[in-house]
């Protein structure tokens, strides 16, 4: 038995190829054997657990550089590892924005020491201002595979068309935060019954749907790939489903909060429920769930958006939008979605790995020779979300006090247990 060798024993391996009872032997950061009765100096107990490829989050806000009081690459990556993620894509709405090779390098370097693979999304436009193209090729050379102005959508259809055309030669995907700013202007929650009653300016569903509609048209026009971020309305789900059925090169993600929470939560006026796109109606929640079941969505993404406590202790319309997600996403999917675990893992691991161009390193399969980026999930474990016990530097989870079923027991990054028995190892 060699040093640096470990076995994950007693679990059921689940990956894109299926499920089987097997131990997993890991050496030098790679899976070396999957089979029965394997042994090593170090044993990670997986009795009653699912052993899966590590999860991949297409949508994480790590806040570095610029908002380190809310999160850093280090704390965000730790939260990710505890949530079962072995790779996250950091959004570029930092200060300064990730819109050049210099800032990409800075975040990648910070991520190199962390307990999760930190990948970076670059901005589509300079400073995310929506007027000039950012140097996408320069960033793509550093491995950037997703570009987005996330937090904002690219408003100008002509500029978006050019961005898609330009990007199509780089082997990258443009991801859109769909929101028509003119129609959404001044809004702080979903426009409808609750906004009318609560006296809070609303954002109509159509603000999202107009841009979904436009970008489906632009995908058709340019032939370039488009990824739709955090879709929240029944109309968006229907349009994307129809466009995919026509064979357009489209992918889409949904967040846990859009399949678990509605605008009714805002009646508390607690800004922890403020998020963009906003929490919508029960019919929208049902449509997102159906979209996840039917394959309209390729991924569950967290949109993990940490904010310092003082920022969320403001009046609802002054507080910034966003909620934590990394440490609760998988458990929410397992608890709330009536889907087989293979499908949940497809949405959380191998499908997003393909969208982000990380397949080959993340998302499995769990076979000999594959990098040992793995997570071990105790699917029967129940736990209660306690905001003050989360690893994120921020506390803005909307799920405080909620009981969830299914929890990550171990996470391995290139063979190293960065989370063991639910505890971060660094």
């Amino acid at each position: 038995m060699a040093e640096g060798e470990l076995v994950i024993r007693g679990g059921e391996v689940v990956d894109a190829t299926g499920r089987r009872r097997a131990d997993v032997l890991v050496r030098d950061g790679v899976v070396v054997e999957v089979g029965q009765g394997l042994d090593a100096r170090r044993v990670l107990d997986a009795d009653g657990c699912v052993v899966a490829p590590g999860l991949v989050d297409l949508h994480t806000h790590l806040r570095e550089p610029g908002r380190e009081e809310a999160e850093t690459v280090e704390t965000g990556a730790r939260a990710a590892a505890l949530g079962g993620y072995t790779a996250v894509v950091a959004m570029p709405n930092t200060e300064p924005a990730i819109d050049s090779a210099g800032v990409v390098r800075q975040v990648l370097e910070a991520g190199a020491r962390s307990c999760c693979d930190v990948r970076v999304a670059g901005a589509i436009t300079v400073d995310r201002a929506g007027t000039r193209l950012a140097p996408m090729a320069e960033m793509a050379e550093l491995g950037v595979r997703i570009f987005t102005d996330d937090g904002r959508g690219v408003q100008d259809a002509r500029l978006m068309r050019r961005a898609l055309e330009y990007a199509s030669a780089l082997g990258v995907v443009l991801a859109q935060h769909c929101e028509d700013e003119a129609l959404a202007a001044g809004g702080h929650m979903h426009e409808g019954e609750w906004s009318s009653r609560l006296g809070i300016p609303g954002i109509p569903s159509e603000a999202e749907e107009l841009m979904v509609m436009r970008d489906i048209a632009l995908a058709r026009l340019t032939g370039a790939r488009v990824h739709f971020q955090h879709l929240s309305t029944a109309g968006s789900v229907a349009m994307v489903g129809a466009a995919k059925a026509q064979g357009l090169p489209i992918t889409a993600e949904a967040t846990p909060h859009h399949f678990t929470l509605t605008a009714a939560e805002v009646a508390s006026y607690d800004p922890v429920f403020k998020v963009n796109p906003p929490l919508r109606t029960p019919a929208d929640v049902a449509a997102v769930r159906e979209g996840l079941a039917a394959g309209v969505f390729d991924a569950i993404a967290t949109d993990h958006a940490p904010h310092a406590q003082e920022a969320k202790e403001a009046p609802f319309d002054e507080a910034p939008p966003g909620m934590l997600g990394l440490e609760t996403a998988l458990s929410l999917a397992l608890t709330e979605l009536d889907l087989p675990i293979e499908q949940v893992l497809a949405l959380c691991s191998w499908q997003p790995a393909r969208v982000a161009g990380l397949n080959g390193q993340h998302g499995g399969p769990v076979t000999e020779g594959f990098p040992a980026n793995l997570c071990v999930i105790d699917t029967a474990a129940t736990w209660v979300v306690e905001p003050e016990r989360l690893a994120s530097r921020s506390r803005n989870t909307p799920y405080g006090g909620r009981k969830l079923t299914g929890r990550v027991r171990h996470t391995l990054l290139r063979g190293e247990p960065v989370v063991a028995d639910g505890v971060a190892q660094r």
């Binding site: 426009e191 409808g192 019954e193 906004s195 009318s196 009653r197 609560l198 006296g199 809070i200 300016p201 609303g202 109509p204 508390s268 006026y269 607690d270 003082e310 202790e313 403001a314 009046p315 609802f316 319309d317 002054e318």
Partner: protein
């Protein structure tokens, strides 16, 4: 009851109780020395993040007539201008030892947040577009004074419903007491959804006027023109203003109300505002008594009504 945040918290019974108690304070207000010792030793802070002369004066007068100490936190000249957060401001004020905070803020929901953060009673004096419960209570009181009861009355609320905290509280209060409410406004000035609102809607002011017992006009703000909600105030007045011609469509005993401040010549013609059926100054006078009742019920239960 600890706080007064929304009319919805009161229900019909709670509203009736406030109105009953208000009667005795109307009597107090008519005395030569309109002051009772009921809240001696209690401290009431008025915390107004939004300018409002009349509501603020009304609350402060009410508190003084109950012999409470009144602190006045003026946002314009305070640490708030130096970037202090709402929570820090409120915790600082509470540390001075207070019994009630009367809060006005341009953001909906702020009174709820305060009620979470402090031990003192919180009174909502207007939160964004959301609610203005004491205005609704004094409106109910004023109507009841003239008509005995709101039950079965037909009330039209006219104007910028969408942005109006007065309208939201009035709809809850009037309907709780049994009135039938019709909202009259251009579609751009109605809330995007009226699901769950026990009201009717009309865009035909002339058609509504002959049928109502009370016409309640809301203040029309200049900036609604620049937000593309209206082509012009002139066009608004032409369709939704209570002009002299329209006032003739009203029944003889119909009442005209307005929360103030009025834009004479916009939502209400100057001569209509001065008609005997217009209760606008009566509303203001009753406002002090109703706010005394609210302060008494929140802070003085068991105390001496004097």
């Amino acid at each position: 009851m600890k706080h007064l945040l929304s009319i919805a918290d009161l229900g019909a019974e709670g509203i009736e109780e406030v109105l009953r108690v208000s009667d005795s304070f109307v009597e107090v207000s008519e005395r030569a020395i309109p002051k009772v010792p009921t809240l001696r030793g209690k401290t009431v802070v008025s915390l107004f993040y939004e300018e409002s002369t009349r509501t603020r004066l009304s609350f402060e007068t009410a508190a003084r007539r109950l012999s409470a100490d009144v602190m006045n936190f003026s946002v314009g000249t305070s640490s708030v201008k130096k970037g202090e957060s709402l929570k820090d401001t409120v915790e600082t004020i509470e540390a001075m030892g207070i019994d009630a905070i009367v809060v006005r803020h341009s953001s909906a929901g702020v009174p709820w947040q305060l009620a979470d953060w402090v031990d003192a009673s919180v009174i909502n004096a207007g939160d964004g577009w959301h609610e203005h419960p004491t205005q609704a209570l004094l409106d109910c009181y004023t109507i009841r004074q003239r008509r005995g009861s709101l039950d079965g009355l037909r009330i039209a609320i006219v104007g910028d419903i969408k942005h109006s905290r007065v309208a939201r509280s009035d709809v809850l209060a009037f309907t709780a007491l049994g009135a039938d409410v019709t909202l009259v406004a251009p579609p751009t000035l109605l809330p995007p959804s009226l699901e769950g609102w026990p009201v009717e809607v009309s865009h035909d002011f002339d058609g509504v006027l002959p049928k109502v017992d009370v016409v309640y006009l809301l203040r029309m703000q200049q900036e609604r023109q620049t937000e593309a909600l209206l082509p012009s105030l002139r066009e608004y007045t032409a369709r939704y203003g209570l002009t002299t011609r329209r006032a003739h469509l009203l029944q003889d005993d119909a009442l005209v109300m307005h929360p103030g401040p009025m834009n004479r010549g916009v939502e209400i013609a100057a001569e209509v505002a001065d008609l005997p059926s217009a209760l606008i100054t009566k509303q203001v006078a009753n406002g002090v008594a109703v706010r005394m009742a609210v302060l008494f019920l929140l802070l003085g239960s068991g105390g001496d009504l004097g």
